[in-house]
Structure formats: C-alpha cells, structure tokens
C-alpha cells in the first residue's frame, strides 16, 4: 500500500509515564529519516496525574499543524487503557491501529469511590470494535522484567517501531535512544525497547492486519 500523505500518530497516557520522551523518539527517528514532522504536546499536566497526549504528524510532503483533527488518527499508542479509549473516541476511526499497555492507572475519582474503573475486557472490546486492530500488551510488566520499572515508554516505543506503521527500521530508533542515554542506562532502555519489538513481532493478530 502506498504511504499515506500524512501519518497521524497519537501517544497517550497519564502524566509521569514518559509519553513525551516516547513521542520525541518517534519524531526524531522520522526527522532523521527525512520526513517533515510536527508534534503537538500538552505537558502542563505532566507528573500530576492528568491525561497527557502527544500528536505526531509525519509527512513526506509538508509540515502539518501540531494538532490532529478529530477522526483522523492513523495510529494510537496508549500507555494506559482508559486513556487509550478516551483518545480513540474523538480521534480514531475504523482504520486506526491501536497498541495499548494493559496496566491501569486509577483516576482520583475512582480512588475516592465516585467512579468505577471500566472492566479491561470491555475497554478492549470497545477499542477493537472501533479500530482496524488492537494489540494489547503487558508493557509495564515487560519493562519490570527488562530491569527498568519506569521503562514502559521504551517498551511501547519498541512495540510501535515493530508494528511497521512507518518504513523506518528499528536501528534508527535505537540510534536516537543511544543519543539520549549512556552506559548502563542505555543498555537498560535498549533492553526495554527490544522487549517491545519482540512482543509486537509475536502478535499474531497484528501480523494478519499488517498492510
């Protein structure tokens, strides 16, 4: 299939999960591959438990604006199930691909007992019914297993890189990561990135959906 004129990728999650770094790695890999890239980020709420979203727009043709219009996301990378669903509702369409971390992070209203957190299976069902594909993975557990409990973002970046949405090889992402960390920290982050790559490669559903 020919490459679309613009890839509209949304990285979504909760403040403190490292979404901004993940979006910057994806965006830098694209710039280093010769694309025009625009990223719109809202990190005012970062670290304070609010919803955090990065819009990444990647095009061979021209620079787009920093906000993806409603219904036009081509890909959603969700670090948290509820945030993934919240983002899909306005921005997704039946052609949107979704990669989602299964680890929940409870909103204050759920903690204090005013709301209940929706069942994960229902969230998955709702997303699957309204997208092209859903790959759900235990990214936080994979990060812990790789020795970096805070490396969920790297696992998710690896999963995105391996999903083949962009014609950019994993080595390009790894090169960007190598520019960010040194020594042991680099090894740990690369291990988390590769854990994400491996998890997505093993996903049979995605293999069938790949275009």
């Amino acid at each position: 299939m020919a490459e679309p004129s613009v890839h509209n990728i949304i990285v979504t999650g909760v403040g403190g999960q490292g979404n901004v770094l993940a979006s910057q790695i994806i965006a830098t890999a694209a710039v280093n591959s010769g694309y025009f890239v625009s990223v719109g980020e809202t990190f005012g709420a970062s670290q304070r438990g609010g919803s955090v979203m990065s819009h990444i727009r990647i095009s061979r043709e021209e620079a787009y604006g920093p906000l993806i219009p409603r219904g036009k996301a081509t890909m959603i990378v969700g670090f948290e199930p509820l945030e993934t669903l919240r983002t899909l509702i306005p921005y997704g369409n039946k052609e949107t691909g979704v990669i989602m971390n299964l680890r929940s992070n409870y909103p204050l209203s759920v903690l204090v007992g005013e709301d209940t957190y929706p069942e994960i299976e229902k969230i998955k069902e709702a997303i699957a019914a309204n997208s092209r594909f859903l790959v759900a993975l235990e990214a936080t557990e994979l990060a812990v297993a790789a020795g970096v409990p805070v490396g969920t973002n790297m696992v998710m970046t690896g999963a995105f890189a391996g999903a083949g949405v962009l014609p950019i090889p994993p080595e390009t992402y790894e090169g960007v990561i190598a520019g960010l960390f040194g020594g042991e920290l680099l090894e740990l982050n690369l291990a988390a990135f590769r854990a994400g790559l491996k998890a997505i490669a093993a996903d049979q559903d995605l293999a069938g959906q790949r275009r």
Binding site: Q24, G44, R48, G49, A63, G71, N105, Y106, S109
Partner: protein, 641 residues
C-alpha cells in the same frame, strides 16, 4: 531533539526542536550576551536550556527572582550593548509591566527581545490571558511565529528589528508553538566579540517628552511591517474570502481550507507581525475581498485592529463583511474568544462563512457507550508521596481541632491544586503570585471589626521569593495577624524543577549562597518554625499551636519534592499487610485510599482490602503513620522519621 539539537553546528541541517528549543537556539545564533527569566509554562524550557549552554557560548543566564527583576536586568545589559533576551508567561508581563512600559519609552541600545508564551486554554495556567494587549500598551512591536522553525528565525530577526528601532520587541508564542516540535534548520553560531560598556554621555531616562519619539518609532515599524518576511499569503489572487490569521492558528486555517476543498476560492493572509499591522498588505487584499475571516488566539486582537484600520478606509472597502469572534462565527465550544483554536473550529467557521457543508467526525462515542458507559475524567492530583498532600492534611486537621472556621488563602504553584479534592478542597482564594499573603494581611487586620476566624496563607518556596516578601514586610509593619505556611519542597516544582534562591544553585549550575525562607523571616523579626510535613501528627499540633496566638507567624514545612527525592536513591518497599487490614469492617472508611487518596493507595477489589501500587508509590511512608490499624508496613531501606 532535546538539549542535544541545540548543539548541532552544521548550518543548513534540519533537526527536530521544540519551539522553546528553537527560541533558545535563535538567541544563541543571534549572539546574545544576557538571558533572564522566571519559570512559567509554556516557556520555562527556554532559559533552562540557555542556562546549561551559557558557559559554552560565553553569555550570562539567570533565573531571576521575578519577571520585573528579570526584565530590568536584561534592559541594563542592552544599555551596556549586549543583545538580551527575557522570557516569561503572560502573568509575568503583568508583573513586569511597570518597568516594561518605561523601558520602551526610555529606549534601549542593543537588541532586547521579550519572549512571551501565551497559554490559550490555560493548559498549565490558572488563567487565559492574551498578552498582546499589554505589549501594545507598552508600545512594542509584536511578532508571532507559527511553527518552531519560524520561532528560531523570528528570534534572530527580532534582535535586528529591536536594534534598528531601539525598542524592546515582543516575540509572542503560544503553547502550540512553545511545546510543539518540528523541523528547524540550524544556522551558524558566530563567535561574538563583546565589550559591554555604557558611554559617558549615554542616557536611558523615562521622561514624558519621549512619548512622541516612542510613537515615531512605532510608525517606523508600521512602514517596515509590509516588508516583514514572515507575512505570507497563500491562495488565489483577488480571493473573495480572505482569512487573516497569525501564530499556530495559521496551520489550522491551512488544514481547514484543504479539508473543505476551498483552496481555489479562499486566500489566507498570515501575519508574522501583528502589531503594528502591515497596513498596505492588508488593505491591498481587503480591497478585492468580500468577506474577511479572523482566526486567532485568544481574544480578537488582530480582528479589532484590522476593523479599526478598515473603518479609516471604509469607502475603499465597502461592502466588505467581517467574520470572527465579534460576529460569533469563530468560536470554540465555550464561545468566542475562549480557549484554543483547532482545525475543526476553523473548518466549521469557514464552512458557515462560505456556505458549504461540514461537520466534524462524530467519533465512536455511541458505539463505545454500549460497552463502557462512562469514561471517568482524570482530575489533577498531587503525585504519590507529594509532601503537599501531607501538609494540606495536617493544616486541615489543625483547623478542625481549632474549630473556628479558619480561612485558607492559596497561591500559585503545584499546591494551587489544594482548591481540589487532592488538597481536601482547603484553599478558598487563588489569584496571582504572592497574592494570598497580601490578602492574609488584609484579613489579619479585621479582628477589631468583628472578623474572628483564624487566617492561614499557604505559599510555595519559589513563590515566597517571587512576590510574598513585600506582603510579609507589610504584615509585620502593620501588625497583621495570620499564619504563613511556606510549603518548601526545595525546588520550583510546577514548571519543571528550576532552582530558586533557597537552593544554593543558580541557572548556570553554579553553587551560590542559600537564602532559606526562615532566615528571611527572622531578618524581618517574624517568629518562624521549621517542620517536616511527613510528620503529620507533629505538624498538626504545631499548626494548631500557632493558630492560638496573635501576630504574624511563619511556618516552613520542608520536605523535598517527591519526584526529585525518588530519583537515584534506594528506597524501602511500602506495602499493606493484608492480614492486618480489615477492609470495610475497619470503620476508617478506606482512609488511605478514599480520604488521604494518594494515587499509590489503591483498593484490592478481589480481597476487599487496601493495597499499594508499587509502580506508582514514591516510598514517602506517610500512609504508614496514618493507617489506624498499623497495616501498612515498610521493608528494607532506611525508614523515615
């Protein structure tokens, strides 16, 4: 990306930068000698980066105590012949305005660029202010970049313009430029040979007869504005519908026109300078147009000024119609002049003006609702382990013990969230930096007139230095009675952990003298106590005790921001011993989870008992001391307290 992209010295290379990085890079390429700022979103990262690079490129950079002082320092460096940049958010312009209006009247020498990061929709602000009205009031030219790429190029051009006309120039960015990233083409970083000096006969004096000169300078810019290289027109010649826009809104307008398929009939005039207006350019396009549509953030600044211009040329422009915020056509969900623009808002406005059909995609809300009836909102909350949560709980408990309906006045910082659930809804006022302390001064004088409630002002450490000190002097001088609680988390946490005068470190990473809050208070002769808020019981007793006496008192609650404390060190594991937790039969009403509501204290629905989310927990151990059953335990590491 990030800090590293700022160091790329390959002119012509395209790298990914945020708008903030692009402004910093532009300033370095322009050969600045001085940079100053007080941290404020969305611009905080500009000086953060400049501070790290100051040594490499041999310029000076500081986090100033507030925006007024920041501007005064930058102006002085300009008087001495150094290109200077001063960075702030709109609230900072409010603070600096007195000096700004004067400096623009006295004139300057080397280029002085004021970078203002407006925050449409208030993503990280208490208010939503359009700073252009103030910049116009201060007789400054206003430049508006649309992308990070333009932000870098316009920073360079702003220095040239400022030097040519001897006025400070405003570079007005919005969040969607500051916090956006895009391809930026880097230029050369020239070596600069600076010898700052003020000539014996040079004078920079604000005096009323200079007002005429100030106006003459603006007229000079008005004549130059048509040739400003960042104005752009895209669309057919003699377009009947003309969109007039600036800043990030231009990108949305372009996308909306394309989405509607109106490229053949709608023209877009993007202004790179929004004050003074490029009048000839505007009048030329308006003469052939039948409809003018204004797309801008936040308030109708360009719209008002263009309509004013059009009124002077009414006969030439008739029967031109105007569409925008004033007509109600350009409006987000909360109405005209409120919130951010986006491609859908622009498309809806243009569709209405041009008489074509458009409605934004409905999304899959209906379909999702069948499976997930409600997607709970995510309120902002203090981070797990945040010392503020403990401080607010202690103050709340002390006020309950006191029983006289104590009033709590808030301020600007992370702890502003004390208006909400995470701070137990304790704060009853929030306005501007330091304003809670000034208001406490007022309430603290009302006892003689029948006001019998105790008064507590809560302010952060960085805000204390920024604007609370004059109010504290006032309190002591005028014998006002209140308790000032300084929430000292040893950093400027809200904007990304910048240093302040209490920390012993400056913007360039140098060790400097510490000025602890208690020393300042002692110097004013005000009684001051210092306590650790993680000791909730001790803090509660102390606050209660301090509320029982007259006079101005200061309590410093000192404990490092949990996000900084969590880094690097080996911390003990905090866990719930589910043998000891008896769940809902305890009678504590799920205290750790539902009342104290730390985001790490979650509920194990299966066992109906408390549990700690160990990925979220920052190991503060405060819940250990608060659990009535003693069911929360610590394992390994060093215990606190």
């Amino acid at each position: 990306m990030s800090f590293l992209s700022l160091l790329v010295n390959e002119p012509g290379r395209s790298v990914l930068m945020t708008g903030n990085e692009a402004v910093a890079r532009g300033a370095i390429e322009a050969g600045i000698g001085y940079a100053s700022s007080y941290p404020g979103s969305p611009t905080a990262e500009i000086l953060g980066n400049l501070g790290r690079l100051a040594g490499d490129y041999h310029f000076y950079a500081e986090w100033s105590v507030n925006e007024k002082v920041a501007l005064e320092g930058a102006a002085a460096a300009s008087f001495a012949g150094l290109r200077s940049i001063c960075i702030m958010k709109p609230n900072g312009v409010n603070v600096a305005l007195d000096s700004l209006a004067s400096i623009s009247q006295s004139g300057i020498k080397a280029g002085l660029v004021l970078v203002v990061g407006d925050d449409p929709a208030g993503h990280s602000s208490t208010n939503e202010e359009d700073s252009r009205y103030l910049e116009k009031l201060a007789h400054m030219p206003i430049l508006e970049p649309s992308t990070p790429r333009e932000a870098k190029e316009m920073t360079l051009a702003a220095f040239e313009l400022s030097e040519k006309i001897k006025l400070p120039v405003a570079l007005r960015c919005v969040t969607r430029v500051c916090h956006a990233s895009g391809n930026v083409t880097v230029g050369e970083i020239a070596g600069v040979n600076r010898k700052p000096a003020i000539g014996k006969n040079e004078r920079f004096i604000t005096v009323k007869f200079l007002h005429a000169l100030q106006e003459a300078k603006l007229n000079q810019v008005r004549r130059m504005a048509d040739a400003w290289p960042f104005n752009r027109y895209a669309g057919p010649e003699n377009a009947k519908t003309l969109v007039i826009t600036a800043g990030a809104s231009f990108m949305y307008a372009r996308e909306a026109v394309k989405e509607l398929g109106l490229e053949g009939e709608v023209g877009i005039l993007k202004l790179g300078i929004s004050w003074p207006l490029p009048e000839k350019t505007l009048l030329g396009r308006l003469k052939t147009a039948e409809k003018a549509v204004f797309i801008e953030e936040v308030e109708p600044f360009i719209e008002e000024n263009v309509m004013h211009l059009a009124a002077q040329h009414m006969m030439d422009l008739y029967p031109l119609q105007f569409y925008g915020q004033k007509s109600g056509h350009v409006a987000g969900p909360s109405g005209p002049g409120i919130g951010e623009m986006n491609p859908e808002i622009v498309a809806m406005a243009l569709a209405a003006v041009c008489g074509v059909n458009y409605s934004p995609p409905p999304g899959c809300d209906e379909s999702v609702k069948k499976l997930v009836p409600k997607v709970p909102q995510r309120d902002l909350a203090f981070c797990a382990g945040c010392p503020h949560r403990a401080s607010f709980w202690a103050v709340k408990s002390a006020l309950a013990l006191d029983g006289r309906d104590g009033v709590v006045l808030g301020d600007i910082g992370c702890y502003t969230m004390g208006v909400g659930r995470t701070g137990f809804n304790l704060l009853q006022t929030v306005h501007a930096m330091g304003s809670g302390v000034g208001m406490a001064c007022g309430l603290g004088k009302l006892a003689d007139y029948g006001f019998n409630q105790p008064v507590v002002a809560m302010v952060g450490d960085s805000t204390f230095y920024h604007a609370a000190i004059p109010a504290l002097v006032n309190a002591r001088y005028n014998k006002s009675s209140f308790l000032l609680v300084v929430l000292d988390n040893e950093t400027t946490a809200m904007t990304g952990h910048q240093p302040h005068p209490g920390m012993g470190k400056n913007a360039m990473g140098e060790e400097v003298v510490r000025m602890p809050v208690e020393s300042v208070a002692e110097g004013l002769g005000i009684p001051v106590s210092v306590h650790d808020p993680y000791d909730v019981e001790g803090t509660t007793e102390l606050v209660f005790h301090l509320l029982q006496s007259e006079g101005t008192k200061v309590l410093v609650l000192r404990r490092a921001c949990a996000l900084i404390a969590a880094k690097g060190t080996k911390k003990p594991r905090v866990y719930v011993d589910q043998e000891l937790c008896i769940g809902d039969s305890c009678g504590c009403n799920r205290f750790c989870n539902q009342t104290f509501s730390c985001t790490a204290n979650i509920w194990d629905v299966k066992n109906n008992k408390a549990v700690i989310d160990e990925v979220v927990c920052n190991r503060c151990q405060v819940c250990v001391s608060l659990c009535p059953r003693g069911a929360i335990k610590v394992e390994g590491g060093e215990q606190i307290g």
